[in-house]
Symmetry: C2
Subunit: 111 residues, 2 copies
Amino acid sequence: MEQTETLVQAGSAVEKTVELIGGKWKGLILYHLIAGEARFNQLRRLIPGVTQRMLALQLRDLEKDGLITREEYKMTPRRVGYRLTELGRSLTPVILLMKTWGEQYSASIAK
Amino acid sequence: MEQTETLVQAGSAVEKTVELIGGKWKGLILYHLIAGEARFNQLRRLIPGVTQRMLALQLRDLEKDGLITREEYKMTPRRVGYRLTELGRSLTPVILLMKTWGEQYSASIAK
DNA sequence: TCATCTGGTTACAAGAACGGTACCTCATCT
DNA sequence: AGATGAGGTACCGTTCTTGTAACCAGATGA
């Protein structure tokens, strides 16, 4: 059964994607960055409920995984901008499809 | 900024989707069920590394969330089949898109 | 001088997720 | 009688994730 390996890799690809956007706030962050660059506190305001700590952690993760870039502007008050990398942008259809599905799902269970 | 609420809900829909397929083996299970019904031990064989316990747990979760159904056939040896519900099947494009993206991602970082 | 804004970090703790091992049931096979 | 296959559950421990709260730094405004 040499096919097993192929199937595993195919499946693992799904898991890989889930791993990258599976954090509690990552989907939300990526969704907001689709619109363009955002600053730290701007994201905090866009995502009610997220704490400084969690936002910072998830942004580090996304950066480490190559989905977003961090850009520090030398000005005062300090300004740091986050934006999608090309790879991150390639995830847009996935995010939007998940958003669409999630909305329909919510509609279908909250009957 | 009344828009915030709209954005939040849109974002939360993404999180909702992640929540449902975010378990360590759920993506894999759903992926295999796209092909059709599968039995418990068949899934075990298709998903190397999963333990009985974890497979059972994740199947319960998916069932609870209405993505799959469990059907017990009265025969011997005992047979239990799992298959996607209509809702679960509606997730197919998402799973496949995540699989495609995951494969490309793996290719783009394993340079 | 003190507070404020931006963008963080660190310490600590609780809870959820995950994993290993063992055990169970029913029926057939040997 | 004992082993085997299918499909689980129970118990227990570890690790991962998330959260709370406090603190830090540079520069500016009151």
